[in-house]
Amino acid sequence: MSSTPPGAPLPPEPLPTGDRRSRILWGGTHVEGRRAVLIALASTVVFFTVLIVVVVNSPGWDEFSAKFLDGEQFLESLPGIRRAFLVNIQLFLIAETIVLVLALIVAVLRSLPGPVFFPIRILTAAYTDLFRGIPTVLVIYTLGLGAPALQIQGIPKSPFFWAVVSLVLVYTAYVAEVYRAGIESVHESQVAAARSLGLSRWQSTRYVVLPQAIRRIVPPLLNDFLGLQKDTALVALIGVIEAFRQAQIDSSATFNYTPFLACALYFVLITIPLARLIDWLVARDRRRRQAGAAA
């Protein structure tokens, strides 16, 4: 992906998001052969056996398994939670789409050079600092309960709307910083080359800087989206009936906590493929860079 002429500064390494996890899972085992596989297998079996024995023999285990691991409850709550989980999916699909665009705009605005744009840089910096600093749950509470209470004509009152707004506000701040890191990782000699060919500042950004920046930030960007997907559970607090809220409802009807397990399952089902995708992208990028360096 990146050409590295001798003497030129090395392109910055893409952030190794997800990389460590893949190494824990696969690192070295097939390289060092059968013996290593057997050791890994044995140690895994021993470790988990000990863990299970300890947990199962804990004093409160019987009560715990009845409250949290009720198979019947589990199957009963699955369909309802699945329906509710569609709301989570809607939430994060809408939010992610908006975040993707909005964060890019914020990042580009923050990268504008020159004294004229100082107020814009200050504003965008204040925004990202603020919304990365405030706990997501507070943003959701404040907007979800506060904004409709203003009773301003034309402002939507639906909790779903304010849930999306809150998630977008928080995650745009994060993702804008990811974009900005990507933009700044493109060496200024690329801009010099583009400008020297007569491309305007905007054209240089559009055709030369952003395509390279975005390629580099795909893994950390998807990582933030994992966070967003999980945080859709927080909007239960302002009355959106999504998977977590549904699990709460089921649970309080039966005094059993198993529905939460079912809820967790859906979140994991959706995040694991994305996590694997991130690993794959990171690995592909590493392969490409190595191929590039060897050529």
Partner: protein
């Protein structure tokens, strides 16, 4: 002959470091000027000032009679007519060779895709890169990358070509293929200012050689005279050092 470039009293500092201390130079149309001098003498900065990649502190520059240091000048319009090739190639790594070459003609000159590709094809064929058209830069050797960079610059049809130590980042075996390209360009009559450490090449190709020492042009003259009978002590010392290093 008409003037392609006129530089008067050019000064440029980076913080407290004065890199250019009053440069005066004119370059005629179709002339090739070789810029020589030690590293840090200001060669690159001078070229970058000519392409307005660095803001000029003091002094004036005219390109083809138009003052580019005037305050209300259209920077993009000027850069369109001046091309610069860098030591480290600076190809766009996310684009194929042909996209590298056609980007500016399409976006800046407004050429159609077909017209830009046609122009790129001609130039790439001419410089022996026809079969590399669809490769990404990291698949090419340094010499090939630098030739692509030259083709990319030439695709804009510039009035003036600036070459900033274009062979310095290359393996010695790859230097020749790039120098051949530059020789051909010189023969085709394009105006060039070439900053280089290749003294033999400067002697061959340049009509005049300018020796830059600590931000001043100490002497400018035909290569035969500069290389065999330098007037300035500093030039002599520089050439002796080059000779001792076996670079001549």
């Amino acid at each position: 002959m008409t003037e392609a470039v006129r530089i008067e009293g050019l000064h440029k500092s980076f913080d407290s470091l004065e890199v250019l201390r009053g440069i005066d130079l004119t370059v005629d149309d179709h002339e090739v000027v070789g810029l020589i001098g030690a590293s840090g003498s200001g060669k690159s900065t001078l070229l970058r000032c000519l392409d307005l990649l660095e803001a000029v502190d003091r002094g004036r520059i005219w390109i083809e009679g138009v003052e580019i240091t005037a305050p209300d000048v259209d920077v993009d319009a000027i850069r369109r007519r001046i091309a610069i090739v860098f030591q480290s190639f600076n190809l766009f790594p996310h684009m194929t060779v042909v996209d590298n070459v056609t980007l500016a003609p399409r976006k800046v000159l407004g050429l159609s895709d077909d017209a830009a590709r046609e122009r790129a094809r001609e130039l790439l064929d001419r410089f022996g890169l026809g079969d590399k058209r669809d490769d990404y830069p990291d698949r090419l050797s340094g010499g090939q990358q630098q030739r692509v960079a030259i083709v990319r610059a030439m695709a804009m049809g510039p009035d003036l070509l600036l070459l900033d130590e274009v062979t310095s980042a290359l393996d010695p075996v790859l230097v020749a293929e790039v120098l051949d390209v530059i020789r051909e360009l010189a023969a085709s009559g394009i105006t060039m200012v070439i900053a280089t450490h290749e003294m033999g090449f400067a002697r061959d190709v340049a009509h005049r050689v300018a020796f830059l020492d600590e931000g001043r042009l100490l002497e400018v003259g035909p290569p035969e005279r500069i290389f065999s009978a330098p007037r300035e002590e500093a030039t002599r010392r520089f050439l002796d050092r080059i000779m001792a290093a076996g670079r001549m």
